[in-house]
């Protein structure tokens, strides 16, 4: 079965790339499983302005943020009783009982009219589900929901609030259900069960979702209060009622989306309302997408009204992209627009129209951020402007200021290159270091601080890897591959070279052997020791590299030193318990390098080099018992300088029987 991880960054709608209506959420095995109906664009030859649903997917999540699509579980072509081209696989439910998962779904039967409700049974919540050959006898309607009550019985609700008891096999209605004669026009029909919404506000009621909490039964349902659906609820002490109407859970969708349909679930102690909206299909409210909000009860058991948000639930990791257009709140005039109206699944942009306009974005986790963390934001503006990101509110500490320099700079007179190209009206990423590191989970306040409007697509707070740590007092060992990771490295000596092509053997011999500082070939530097090279005052740093390759580029960059056109001196002290004969020094370096063991030159890597493991090796040499000094100089033009060094034996295996002081 196809299983594709979906990251939706904890926002509404929760799933992108496909439509997900009528979301029924259930908790199985400490995970939330979502069984929505699957709106699609109606195929040619079918009614274009109506619902169209041919199959069901199931999704799961452990954090309500990352949803995994487990693929199709039931499809209209593979259910014996369903008319295969009916595209009427409407709102489903799924429950666990007696070791099996029972998936209930309505559809148009191949024989007869109206809707039936079928069951498909699986051993796992992801399926595979095997559909029963016939729909449940006695149910003519849509939108099944199964309540497993504390009285030990399972009850099925459907349609406009009808409820009947299920047999223990979960596939048939119980024999002792009440029956009533219902008049439809001049027809009389015998219907099983009871209409739990009789006499309650119930105009065009559908989508019943029943659950039990704190000794109360809740029957929640969409109905048309005025022109479109609201989510309402009623309470009872008995599963089959009578129910007392209590009010609204969610009001009509502000944009006129006609339907709403929902489920309510408790996950890890928090209640959530799953519902739908047509966020990805603004011109067609028959293509809907699931959303989530937190739901709260009052002490008397009544439910607090829930407002739909863009932000949804869940915590964003600061180091992943955050679509701040799904904001928690916004000042007046803030505008939302689709990035691509032809493909709404690409999401939105938010425009801060004037100086002082802001959005807030709650629950961003900065764990792991540090002083080197930087922010990258995808932004757009027509004129130079700026955006400020603060913690919590407009008086909060400034996390970063993003300068949007979109207007070209420098001019192109006389054939001179422009110093910076124009980004006017174009999406581009702006990167800057952060000035304040929030702790843990916090809220962002993002405001336009410049004189001109700014649009934001996303932002991300990245923390660069740690390349080095300070060497400890304890001796180090070579790593499993034999690579020596402990080095005392001198800050880079300026050696301006525009390219690597100058690194001929004769250039290197001349420039590696000239004296830059006293005792260059004998010094065993201490951490923090300083030397003077020309006008440069440089410090030795004794470091352990986190990687097998010692990234000199990141060493220099981290110290905010020159990164290109430089020369690095590197020293390490090797302590051998015994003499080791016939080993070779194996080196890869970017760019050229020269290496000395105990004062003797043993290896030169000349020319335009890249750091390739075991690129070149020395002749056979001997590591003497006790202290050996290994010294290397690496010269660099325009590349990312690094090196890797190890000793290998006659069998080309790494030598590791020594300590590094």
């Amino acid at each position: 079965m196809l299983s594709v991880p979906l990251t939706t960054a904890a926002q509404n709608p929760i799933i992108s790339g496909q439509f997900t209506a009528d979301p029924t959420a259930r908790v199985f095995n400490n995970k939330v499983y979502l069984y929505p109906s699957h709106d699609i664009l109606p195929p040619e030859g079918t009614r274009q302005d109506w619902f169209s649903m041919e199959d069901y997917h199931v999704f799961s999540s452990e954090d309500l943020v990352n949803w995994q699509d487990h693929g199709v579980i039931v499809t209209q072509n593979k259910v014996p009783w369903v008319r295969p081209n009916s595209y009427s696989m409407w709102a489903p439910d799924c429950v666990y009982r007696n070791g099996k998962y029972y998936f209930y779904f309505p559809s148009a039967p191949a024989k007869g009219g109206g809707f039936g409700v079928g069951v498909a049974i699986a051993d796992n919540p992801e399926g595979p589900f095997i559909p029963e050959p016939e729909p449940i006898k006695g149910i003519n309607g849509i939108d099944p929901c199964v309540l497993q009550a504390s009285d030990g019985n399972a009850y099925i609700f459907w349609g406009a609030g009808r409820c009947a008891k299920l047999k223990e096999n979960m596939k048939e209605l119980a024999d002792d259900n009440p029956k009533e004669i219902v008049k439809w026009g001049n027809r009389e029909m015998e219907m099983v069960g009871v209409n739990c919404l009789k006499g309650l506000p119930n105009r065009q009621a559908e989508g019943p979702f029943a659950f039990e909490y704190n000794g109360n039964y809740y029957l929640t349902y969409p109905y048309v209060r005025e022109n479109t659906e609201v989510l309402a609820y009623a309470m009872s002490k008995n599963p089959m009622g009578p129910y007392e109407y209590k009010g609204i859970i969610m009001a009509e969708h502000a944009n006129g989306c006609w339907t709403n349909h929902h489920s309510i679930v408790n996950y890890k102690g928090q209640w959530y309302l799953f519902y739908h909206h047509n966020a990805y299909s603004p011109k067609d409210d028959k293509r809907r997408s699931a959303q989530i909000e937190k739901l709260y009860f009052n002490e008397d058991g009544t439910i607090q009204e829930v407002k739909p948000t863009l932000r949804g639930v869940g915590i964003n990791q600061a180091n992943s992209r955050i679509d701040v257009d799904r904001y928690s709140s916004a000042s007046e005039g803030v505008e939302l627009a689709y990035l691509d109206t032809a493909n709404t699944f690409r999401g939105w942009e938010v425009k801060l129209p004037k100086k002082g306009s802001y959005i807030t974005y709650n629950d961003v986790d900065f764990t792991g951020a540090n002083a080197r963390t930087y922010v990258t934001a995808n932004v757009k503006a027509d004129k130079n402007t700026s955006i400020v990101i603060r913690e919590n509110n407009k008086n909060g500490k400034v996390i970063a200021r993003l300068n949007l320099k979109v207007e070209p700079e420098g001019g192109n007179n006389g054939g001179m290159m422009m110093r910076r190209r124009s980004y006017v009206g174009q999406w581009h990423a702006v990167t800057t270091t952060i000035s304040h590191v929030p702790k843990g989970v916090t809220n962002l306040y993002i405001a336009c601080e410049g004189e001109h409007p700014a649009s934001i697509d996303w932002m991300q707070f990245k923390t660069p890897p740690t390349y080095f740590t300070s060497a400890t007092a304890a001796p180090a060992k070579p790593d499993a591959g034999g690579f020596i990771r402990r080095w005392t490295i001198l800050e880079p000596i300026d050696k301006p070279n525009r390219s690597n092509t100058v690194f001929t053997d004769s250039y290197l011999r001349e420039h590696f052997n000239m004296e830059y500082f006293p005792n260059q070939f004998t010094i065993v530097p201490e951490d923090g020791q300083r030397v003077k090279v020309g006008k440069q005052r440089l410090t030795w740093h004794k470091l352990d590299s986190e990687r097998f390759n010692v990234k000199l580029f990141r060493f220099a960059d981290g110290l905010q030193k020159q990164i290109y056109g430089v020369l690095f001196w590197n020293v390490t002290v090797i302590n051998c318990p015994e003499e080791i004969k016939d080993v070779r020094l194996a080196v890869g370096s970017n760019s050229a390098s020269m290496w000395w063991l105990n004062g003797e030159e043993v290896l030169l890597l000349s020319g335009d080099r890249r750091m390739v493991k075991d690129d070149a090796v020395s002749p056979r040499i001997t590591l003497k018992k006790g202290i050996n000094i290994l010294r290397g100089a690496v010269i660099n033009g325009p590349g990312m300088s690094d090196f890797c060094v190890r000793f290998i034996n006659e069998n080309e295996k790494p030598v590791t029987e020594f300590e590094i002081k």
Binding site: V4, P5, L6, T7, T8, S16, G17, N66, D340, A342, N343, R346, Y374, T376, R419, R420, R421, W427, A429, T431, K462, P464, P465, S499, N500, T501, F548, G588, N590, D608, R610, M611, V612, K613, D614, D615, G639, M640, C644
Partner: protein, 486 residues
């Protein structure tokens, strides 16, 4: 028979034209994998634009790709063409905040009314500070899973792998970048025979004839790597086995692309940083792609020469069906070499064309296959014919008996003969391609009486001694030939 072609051929026969690289104006850097669209071939390069070829041999500018940027790739998925490219940061001195973008087109022909790129979509980016430069993308549609992968990056940090949705060319939601290599750029991914291959360009570009670019490869059983070279070294540690380096008057091959023409007939595309025959310009290169123990190796361009045409089936040689002419050379040394060994040895003459040609019929002479004895009726001179155009990666050749104009020709009944004089007619022109195992496929440009170019019938050993024309089948040695200069 085409009189005009024939006349031109006769006049032009001794003229040397440039038949060494792709002809036309094949000037490009970082060519995308060659894609065929409505009978024409396309490749896109760095900086926007690209080359078009009607026949795969003569290339000129004219392909259109908006967005500029670096090192695109292209492929056909379903009935659409996917183009991916990298937009550079463009900061002072060239920033490393790159972006990878994808876009679709229904056709690659800028003259088609359907030619319209969709809005480019960003699928990956680098922020300028991290160890990655999001340019130089390469595409792989995994034939085993249908999943669409992209490798990208340069020497500035790592080569990364991401996954796209093949239906939309958008990034798969939740897909995280995976570092798979260092120390290369202009990479490409391919799949063959249970292996995934990462082709990386090593060395330095953009320095004319001094550019040190070369293409190296590592392979893996999974697309996520690790990509290991022939000595067990991970490309994430700088490993890589050579696929193609400088040689043949071109330096700096880079930006690999693979194109499968038929089973067992593959080519690789690249650019050469400098072609010594073309002012040292950066040009499109197309070479046979050979596979040795499941490692890709660039074959040499077939340039022609004088050869035995040896059948892979038996090892016999293609020859004129003429009388075997004994050489009147007295046998020295007596029975079983037990003669007088004190007599000094000396070279003796081989059989010459002049010794035998008068014994041959004057008109058409059929061909057969026989044991090779380097006799004149077995020695073929193969020469590219400039006026005849070409096919993907090569020019058409004439195949004549050495020292004559007696030319190998296809017949209407799918057999072979030789015409006393080469006429330049299509049935006397031969498409010669090196197969992935190093043997050659030899096929006539056209079959008399059949419409259009022949892409079906090849020179074929139907028996040890009998050649014919039959359909190409890589899985039989009957289809395969070797050119041996000996």
């Amino acid at each position: 028979m085409n009189k005009i072609t024939s006349t031109l051929a006769l006049l032009g026969i001794s003229l040397t034209t440039n038949l060494f690289a792709q002809v036309g104006q094949p000037f490009i850097h970082d060519p995308s994998t060659i894609v065929e669209c409505d009978g024409k071939y396309y490749t896109f390069g760095t900086g926007g634009g690209g080359l078009i070829s009607e026949d795969g041999w003569t290339w000129k500018g004219g392909a259109e790709r908006p967005g500029g940027g670096a090192a695109p790739d292209a492929m056909k998925i379903g009935d659409r063409y996917l183009v991916i490219y990298g937009a550079t940061g463009g900061g002072l001195g060239g920033g490393h905040n790159g972006r990878i973008l994808t876009m679709w087109n229904k056709t690659l022909d800028p003259k088609s009314p359907d030619f319209k790129y969709t809005q480019a979509i960003e699928v990956a980016a680098s922020d300028g500070l991290e160890d990655n430069d999001a340019i130089d993308p390469g595409l792989l549609l995994d034939p085993t899973t249908g999943r669409l992968w992209v490798c990208y990056g340069t020497y500035f940090g790592t080569i990364r792998l991401i996954e796209l949705d093949p239906a939309t060319a958008e990034r798969v939601k939740g897909n995280k970048e995976l570092d798979i290599a260092i120390d290369c750029e202009a990479t490409d991914l391919i799949y063959r025979n249970g292996w995934y291959y990462l082709l990386g360009t090593h060395g330095t570009c953009c320095d004319g004839v001094n550019s040190t670019y070369n293409i190296v490869v590592g392979r893996s059983r999974t697309v996520q790597g690790p990509y290991i070279d022939n000595v067990g070294r991970d490309m994430y540690h700088g490993g890589g086995r050579m696929v193609i380096a400088a040689g043949d008057s071109v330096t700096g091959p880079g930006h690999f692309g693979r194109y499968v023409i038929d089973e067992g007939i593959e080519i690789m595309s690249c650019h050469y940083e400098a072609d010594y025959r073309q002012s040292g310009r950066s040009v499109l290169g197309i070479r046979p792609l050979l596979w040795k123990n499941d490692w890709p190796v660039a074959g040499d361009r077939f340039k022609g020469g004088t050869f035995e045409i040896e059948s892979e089936r038996r090892g016999y040689a293609l020859e004129l069906a003429v009388d075997f002419a004994r050489q009147n050379v007295q046998r020295v040394g007596g029975f079983f070499g037990r003669g007088n060994n004190d007599t000094p040895v000396k070279p003796i003459a081989t059989q010459k064309l002049a010794d035998v040609i008068d014994t041959w019929p004057k008109g058409d002479i059929p061909v057969r296959i026989g044991d090779y004895m380097f006799r004149p009726h077995q020695r073929w001179t193969i020469t590219p014919v400039a006026e005849a155009g070409g096919y993907l990666g090569g020019p058409y050749f004439k195949i004549v008996i050495e020292g004559t104009n007696r030319a190998l020709a296809a017949t209407a009944d799918l057999e072979l003969t030789t015409a006393a004089e080469f006429s330049g007619a299509d049935e006397q022109l031969w498409r010669i391609e090196q197969a992935t195992d190093g043997t050659f496929r030899i096929m006539p440009k056209a079959i008399p009486g059949q419409e259009g170019l022949n892409t079906k019938y090849v020179l074929y050993s139907i028996a040890d001694s009998t050649p014919t024309l039959a359909e190409w089948d890589f899985n039989t040695d009957n289809s395969k030939w070797n050119f041996r200069a000996h």
